[in-house]
């Protein structure tokens, strides 16, 4: 199935891709892909994990050479060959896995792209950054070290960086998967402002709501092929778009679920916990929180309100300055305690926190915190493989082949490896930060089902998400955080977007 754009474009496209193909070993990541972007429009690129979206965009940005096909910028055939060449032609890209240098300040990172002269003008640049960040509503501190920024803040730095390099065509690879709803709105406001000024924007997303909110046209990729090419999203309903992406319909979540069984010992209990953030400031203040076995507690809040620190404290990864953490009644002071007490975790940024890029999928499966099966002095890989096959069969997130290195996997596929490993464990507590981040519609749905299965099996589940709809669909209770405090708590029966939104900005419900 391949459908043409209904209207013939009246002007020359800024970017036109003709029949790009790209192969990585045995994987045909792109085959004969067509794509174009006009000035002043937002073109959404959607598709399953591993459909080839990032690959297409990296070819446009000159990171990869296409095996076949050609590309035109302003009607002129170009062979870019390098990102620097792409930038000089006015193409800028924000990568899905951000490419900032953690040890540098925001200004230094931006200087990498936006300071062509031999001597760095750090002061001037910092002033320009402050000015641009105010103008575009992308708040960042020019002198903050990127290492200390949350993933949402890093995203803003990346976008700012591209804006400041003078790109006219801006590629955003899954920019919203790390942002809170308000931040998404703010980003879209930026995007609208840019398209009005004549910029062309490409945006990758897994959320149809976002496609409808921002995109003028949408292209759907499936298994490296163009299924829908530059169509108007309004001409298609959600089912049709999902079917184009996945090749089948995706069932809705079961609405009914059992009550939380009463229990004396909470799966997770925080009493008066305070803790410092990486910058030494107080990131958590006097947090008390309980998750019962068989209960799913959602954490909502604007990005950077202490969610990351909360997860780390709960898992014994971050020292507390006061208060106590208990998992299943056992006191937790270290990651070892938490694992011993039966905690599983899906970290906020798996690539940074639980992925060893050069190890394979199979090797990652061996690293689940349990004893690695031994055979003599070596590892019993057959047992690890059996563990993996079993986990994959039970969870159904269809992880990548065992021998692939994580460095070769797409963003969503990395997430699926970590989810499969952690959620297959017979854990008493699951701490999941943004579990469906970067997943396509079908896999996000499956992940939600798995979390509910963990709950039904009697695990306590603590889930952080930026997606209120997801939290309201899954949680028994939502705890809202603001600036390191618990600003309120809402029970499933009383879920109300407005009320939660008010709590998120520190108001009262």
């Amino acid at each position: 199935m391949s459908i043409e754009a209904p209207v013939a474009p009246t002007t020359l496209p800024m970017l036109q891709v003709d029949g790009f193909s790209k192969r990585f070993g045995e994987v045909q990541a792109n085959s004969d892909v067509r794509f174009d972007v006009h000035a002043g429009e937002v073109h959404a690129l959607v598709g399953e994990n591993g459909a080839g979206k990032s690959t297409l965009l990296k070819m446009v940005y000159g990171v990869y050479e296409p095996d076949e096909g050609r590309m035109l910028i302003d009607g002129e055939p170009v062979a870019l060959g390098s990102p620097a060449a792409a930038r000089s032609r006015g193409v800028g890209m924000v990568f899905q896995d951000l490419r900032l240098v953690p040890a540098f300040t925001v200004t230094e990172n931006i200087a990498l792209a936006a300071n062509p002269g031999p001597v760095l003008r750090l002061k001037d640049l910092a002033a320009e950054i402050a000015e641009a960040s105010a103008r575009h509503g992308l708040a960042v501190h020019p002198n903050a070290r990127v290492r200390h920024l949350s993933i949402g803040e890093r995203q803003r730095v990346e976008i700012l960086k591209v804006l400041m390099t003078g790109a006219r065509l801006i590629i955003l690879d899954e920019p919203t998967s790390v942002l809170a709803p308000q931040e998404v709105d703010a980003l879209f406001a930026v995007v609208r402002q840019l398209t009005e000024a004549g910029f062309g924007i490409v945006i990758v997303t897994h959320k149809l709501g976002e496609v409808r909110a921002i995109a003028d046209r949408v292209t759907v990729l499936r298994a490296g092929r163009t299924v829908l090419h530059g169509v108007d999203p309004d001409d298609y309903d959600d089912e049709q778009l999902i079917e184009a992406m996945v090749g089948r319909a995706v069932p809705a979540l079961p609405a009914e679920r059992g009550p939380v069984p009463p229990s004396d010992v909470p799966a997770l209990e925080l009493t008066g916990v305070s803790s410092r953030g990486d910058r030494g400031h107080e990131a958590l203040t006097d947090i008390s929180l309980r998750v019962q076995p068989g209960e799913l507690v959602g954490i909502a809040g604007v990005a950077g309100s202490g969610q990351r620190e909360l997860c780390e404290v709960a898992l014994g990864l971050r020292p507390t300055t006061s208060g106590e953490v208990r998992i299943g009644g056992a006191s937790v002071d270290s990651a070892r305690d938490a694992i011993g007490a039966g905690a599983a975790s899906v970290p906020e940024d798996p690539v940074a926190d639980s992925v060893v890029r050069r190890l394979t999928v199979l090797e990652h499966m061996g690293l689940d915190g349990r004893r690695i099966p031994a055979r003599g002095l070596g590892v019993d890989w057959a047992a690890v493989r059996a563990r993996m096959t079993d986990a994959d069969a039970r969870l159904g997130l269809r992880i990548a082949p065992a021998k692939r290195r994580l460095s070769e996997l797409s963003g969503g596929n990395i997430q699926r490896v970590i989810l499969t490993r952690e959620l297959a464990l017979d854990s008493s507590l699951v701490v999941a930060a943004y579990p469906s981040r970067g997943l396509d519609v079908a896999n996000a749905r499956r992940t939600q089902e798995v979390l509910l299965e963990r709950r039904a099996a009697g695990s306590g589940v603590l889930m952080v998400s930026e997606d209120l709809d997801e939290l309201m669909a899954l949680a028994d209770r939502i705890v809202v955080m603001h600036d390191g405090h618990v600003s309120g708590e809402v029970l499933a029966a009383d879920f109300d977007r407005q009320a939660i939104g008010r709590l998120m900005v520190g108001g009262t419900s």
């Binding site: 490419r99 240098v101 040890a103 200087a111 990498l112 031999p118 001597v119 460095s407």
Partner: protein, 306 residues
């Protein structure tokens, strides 16, 4: 009082060769390459400078030649590590032994030769300042040059685009690729420049400080320089302070002996190394936080990540 001044003056003079070498190693490691061959670069620089000074009578030409030989040895390391995928530690040690062998061979006939060395030149006015004057401003020209080299290295690393690219190569090479620079090219330049500085350090040793040549005369200073980079947390200014500390440790023995105070010869020789160990143990964790991130990947053999 005069003992203190002697030790401090000796600290600056004796520390200067370590300072140049450590500055060079800082540049190299900031780009993500460890060069254990620094000791060899110093040896090569020391002998070359000595030969040129002996043959031409011009110590400045000696320094230049020493730097060039230091750079050439480091480029052998860069070639093996960055372009042929060799292990950084094995390659660095290989370069050291190569330099040790070559300098023993070509240096044999220069043992005992006299040269026109650099001489100390007191800077008017400044050298009259009590204590600091004789310590800092009654020195040889290479010492004065090092006063410029430290801020210059700092400026290049932290205030120029070249330095930013160099540090990016050492922190996150995939970010560098995106910005249109080739990791291997950047690292090759850094390693070469670092080697030049090590060669100059060696030259200071042979034609400004000891004014002699003998086999293996660098005697571990290159390794002290490598350790110093780590405990100075890859910062040029801290490297300077550390180099003088080691220089002072080296100068203590001769200063005591000159006053007829008996000290155990062997004890004096180990002081700088014990000092290194103590400081490393004390600062280990703190400075490892400042380590360029790509140094964690030295076993991946310098081949850039994709």
């Amino acid at each position: 009082m005069s003992l203190i001044i002697d030790v401090l003056t000796g600290g600056v003079r004796g520390g200067t060769s370590i300072l140049y070498a450590a500055l060079g190693e800082t540049v190299s490691q900031r780009s993500g390459v460890i060069n254990l061959g620094t000791e060899g670069g110093m040896l090569g620089g020391a002998l070359t400078a000595y030969i040129i000074a002996a043959e031409t009578g011009n110590p400045w030409l000696g320094v230049l030649g020493g730097g060039i030989v230091g750079a050439a040895l480091a480029l052998v390391h860069a070639l093996l590590v960055l372009w042929r995928g060799a292990n950084q530690f094995a390659s660095g040690l290989m370069v050291l032994f190569l330099a040790l062998g070559l300098t023993s061979l070509f240096g044999a006939s220069y043992v005992g030769r006299t040269i026109t060395p650099f001489t100390t030149w007191a800077i008017p006015v400044l050298s009259d300042i009590p204590v600091l004057g004789p310590v800092l401003f009654d020195q040889d020209p290479l010492v004065y040059l090092s006063y410029l080299a430290v801020p210059a290295a700092w400026f290049v690393l932290f205030r120029t685009r070249a330095g930013l690219l160099l540090r990016t190569a050492g922190e996150r090479s995939d970010a560098l690729t995106v910005h249109g620079a080739d990791v291997r090219v950047v690292r090759t330049w850094a390693v070469g420049a670092g080697g030049f500085l090590a060669g100059v350090g060696g030259a200071h040793l042979s034609i400004a400080y000891t004014n002699t040549w003998f086999e293996n005369m660098v005697a571990g200073r290159g390794f002290i320089a490598v350790a110093l980079v780590i405990l100075a947390a890859w910062g040029p200014v801290k490297v300077m302070a550390g180099a003088y500390l080691f220089g002072a440790a080296l100068a203590l023995g001769p200063a005591l002996q000159a006053r007829g105070i008996p000290v155990n010869q062997f004890l004096l020789h180990v002081i700088p190394f014990v000092l290194t160990l103590v400081v490393l143990a004390a600062l280990g964790r703190r400075s490892s936080n400042a380590a360029p991130a790509e140094l964690q990947r030295v076993f991946e053999n310098g081949a850039p990540a994709t």
